[in-house]
């Protein structure tokens, strides 16, 4: 007999099977929210047309423009200038597909537009217990609300558009427990980089991670999103956190969240979404937050993260040596003091208001080192408005950074924002793969605070040094 104790993941899974899994075929998983964007959807809509199919549930589908869109500052009402015609055509194709299929689109004229994983939660579209998919591997971000959220390919985007279902086999489960308290100056980005370094780039393949423990419970919603966002960098299918008071407080009053009595009823339901005490996970991993430090990556995979003052691996032939050679870093040396060419604060990992505040705290009263280019790209129109309302844009601009329009920007470098060959970029995004930020660009992943410290120092630096100086004053 199956154990009556179930994990949070099991509970969501079990209530979303429209048809059970069989030996010879996967089950049919029903999707509550399908997020789409311009890059991974056009061929899916073409497939529907070819087969004469309609979108089954336009009401459960929501679209935005983010990946291929320019982030160059624009006067209100002026038109965006795309990197090329193909990008423009792609955006127009999505606009057209949404019109024809009656799908809500946070387009150019919408005050809701932004990076898909920033706006879903912001608008209250993302809710606990849901199944959420998007043609983008960082969809796990939404798992911060206790929803099962994962990335899919374009063929599957077509499946969901046409049937609202996906063929899925049940993944394995892993619990990552983070005990203790994060030290001052160490944040969620450092925590997830430490987790990925521990698990390895493929270490959680085939698994859904539940993040738990004192240090996770203490995180804000924004910080939980940063953690869940990068689950895929350890190979995980998804990552989630059980919803609690922090989650409910964050959701109350959001545009598409239930209102009034309906919210209270939903809260009752959501409160039951947690792993039973006796629930068994396929894999258990434990880390101690109190031992964590600001992290940076020395290689071309996110699992090459180390504390900022640690040294790179010692000289030894193999993958590490190749990665160090690509990055131009010496084996057995600290990265502190390594000169940087550009700094990027943005992406669905770290472009929410709290991230911009974290960077601004370092930048306030300081200046971007001459010769360094710094881009600050808010994750959404709403983040941009909120940041401007509290004067963060002024802090960045006064410091000599560029304050840009919302979008994926240098996270994916397909929209006009990219580094030049050989440049070293300290980036708050999620991938340091060779060429991810432009051909030949060397990417160091870090938190907003560490990125801002690098901008001020013109070199990789420990943000705690700068913060201590601020506190001392």
């Amino acid at each position: 007999m199956a154990s009556p104790s179930r994990t949070l993941f099991d509970k969501i899974w079990d209530t979303h099977l429209a048809a059970p899994e069989k030996t010879e075929a996967p089950g049919l998983l029903y999707v509550d929210l399908h997020l789409i964007h311009e890059v991974t959807s056009p061929q899916a809509f073409s497939e529907l047309e070819k087969r004469g199919l309609k979108v089954r549930r336009p009401d459960l589908t929501f679209a935005t423009l983010d990946h291929a869109t320019p982030t160059t500052p624009r006067a209100p009402g002026s038109l965006p200038i795309y990197i090329n015609d193909a990008a423009k055509k792609q955006v127009e194709r999505l606009e057209d597909n949404c019109r024809r299929h009656d799908i809500r689109l946070a387009g150019w004229s919408s005050e809701d537009r932004g990076i898909v994983h920033v706006i879903g939660p912001e608008l209250g579209l993302t809710q606990p217990g849901m199944t959420i998919v998007c043609g983008d591997s960082h969809t796990a971000t939404h798992g911060a609300f206790g929803s099962l959220a994962f990335g899919i390919g374009t063929t599957e985007v077509g499946h969901v558009l046409a049937t609202q279902c996906l063929l899925q086999r049940k993944p394995k489960t892993m619990r990552v427990t983070v005990d203790g308290k994060l030290p001052r100056g160490v944040g969620a980005k450092d925590m997830i980089l430490a987790i990925i370094a521990e698990l390895g780039a493929g270490g959680a393949a085939g698994h859904v991670i539940e993040y738990a423990g004192e240090a996770i419970e203490a995180l804000s919603m924004e910080a939980r999103m940063t953690v869940c966002n990068m689950s895929i960098e350890a190979g995980a299918r998804a990552g989630l956190v059980a919803p609690d008071a922090t989650t409910f407080d964050w959701l109350r009053g959001r545009k598409y969240a239930p209102k009034g009595a309906a919210f209270e009823a939903a809260k009752q339901r959501w409160s039951k979404l947690k792993s039973d005490p006796g629930a068994v996970f396929d894999t258990e991993v434990r880390l101690d937050a109190s031992r964590m430090a600001p992290m940076v990556t020395w290689g071309d995979s996110p699992d090459t993260a180390v504390p900022v003052s640690a040294t790179t691996p010692a000289a030894a032939p193999g993958k590490a040596a190749e990665a160090l050679a690509y990055m131009g870093f010496r084996p057995g040396h600290t990265l502190l003091g390594e000169p940087v060419d550009a700094v990027f604060v943005g992406s669905c990992t770290n472009a929410r208001l709290s991230d911009l505040r974290e960077a601004a705290e370092i930048m306030a009263g300081r200046h971007v080192k001459s010769g360094v280019r710094m881009l600050v790209v808010p994750g959404s129109e709403a983040v941009k408005r909120a940041a401007e309302a509290e004067g963060l844009d002024a802090i960045f601009k006064t410091a000599g950074a560029e304050w840009r329009e919302p979008g994926c920007s240098m996270c994916i470098a397909m929209n006009g924002d990219s580094g030049k060959p050989g440049e070293l970029v300290v980036s708050t995004s999620n991938r340091n793969f060779a060429g991810r930020q432009g051909k030949g660009v060397r990417t160091v992943l870090a938190s907003p605070a560490t990125a801002a410290a690098a901008a001020v120092c013109g070199a990789i630096a420990d943000p705690r040094r700068i913060l201590e100086a601020s506190y001392a004053q």
Partner: protein, 192 residues
């Protein structure tokens, strides 16, 4: 609607030893602005194959004839990173029909299966041996789920439905559409 069944692939191998070859390497993001299918061969591994000025690099990928060597043997954790289905599209447009590795990333595997790109995850010892024998004649038996190359014989396991789709040409979209009744029942039960 049925696809072309794929039951057996025999070809010489081409090896890329690197581990963690991510989908940004397979197809850099700047090529993702396409709205069509079938034209991504040039973009496949573009930054490995071409210099800044568009001239070809010395990378072995520039010397491969995909008609003669259409089986890619690649390092561990192949296809990690972005969920872009453009990765299997690009590999297939380039001319590869199959990828043999010790482990492929989840989303990549799922995307590949839906496009008829056969992904064989084999045991580490056979994988290491195959990596050392570039240009070897390899036979992939999709029905029996075996890889044979000289004295190397390895098994792989496809997800059973992915295997059915490959060998019988079953169309997954059609398969889901056929369960319309179950989906409607599910929607009605939840609305109630």
């Amino acid at each position: 609607m049925l696809n072309e069944p794929i039951t057996r692939i025999a070809s010489r191998s081409f090896t890329l030893r690197d581990a963690n070859i991510d989908t940004d390497q397979i197809i850099p993001a700047r090529f993702l602005t396409t709205t069509e299918r079938g034209k991504l061969g040039e973009a496949c591994f573009c930054d490995w194959r071409f210099n800044e000025d568009g001239s070809k690099t010395a990378h072995p990928l520039n010397g491969v004839d995909p008609d003669a060597a259409s089986i890619l043997v690649a390092g561990d954790n192949f296809g990690c990173g972005s969920s872009r289905e453009h990765a299997p599209w690009a590999l297939m447009d380039f001319g590869f029909q199959a990828v043999i590795t010790s482990r492929a990333a989840d989303i990549f595997k799922s995307n590949a299966a839906k496009n008829g790109l056969v992904v064989c995850e084999i045991d580490e010892a056979s994988h290491a041996a195959l990596l050392d024998r570039a240009g070897e004649e390899v036979e992939i038996d999709v029905i029996g789920q075996t890889v044979t190359a000289g004295n190397i014989r390895a098994e792989f396991k496809l997800e059973p439905f992915a295997r059915t789709c490959l060998i019988e040409g079953v169309d997954p979209m059609g398969y889901i559409l056929a369960q319309d009744e179950a989906i409607t029942r599910f929607e009605e039960a939840r609305a109630a």
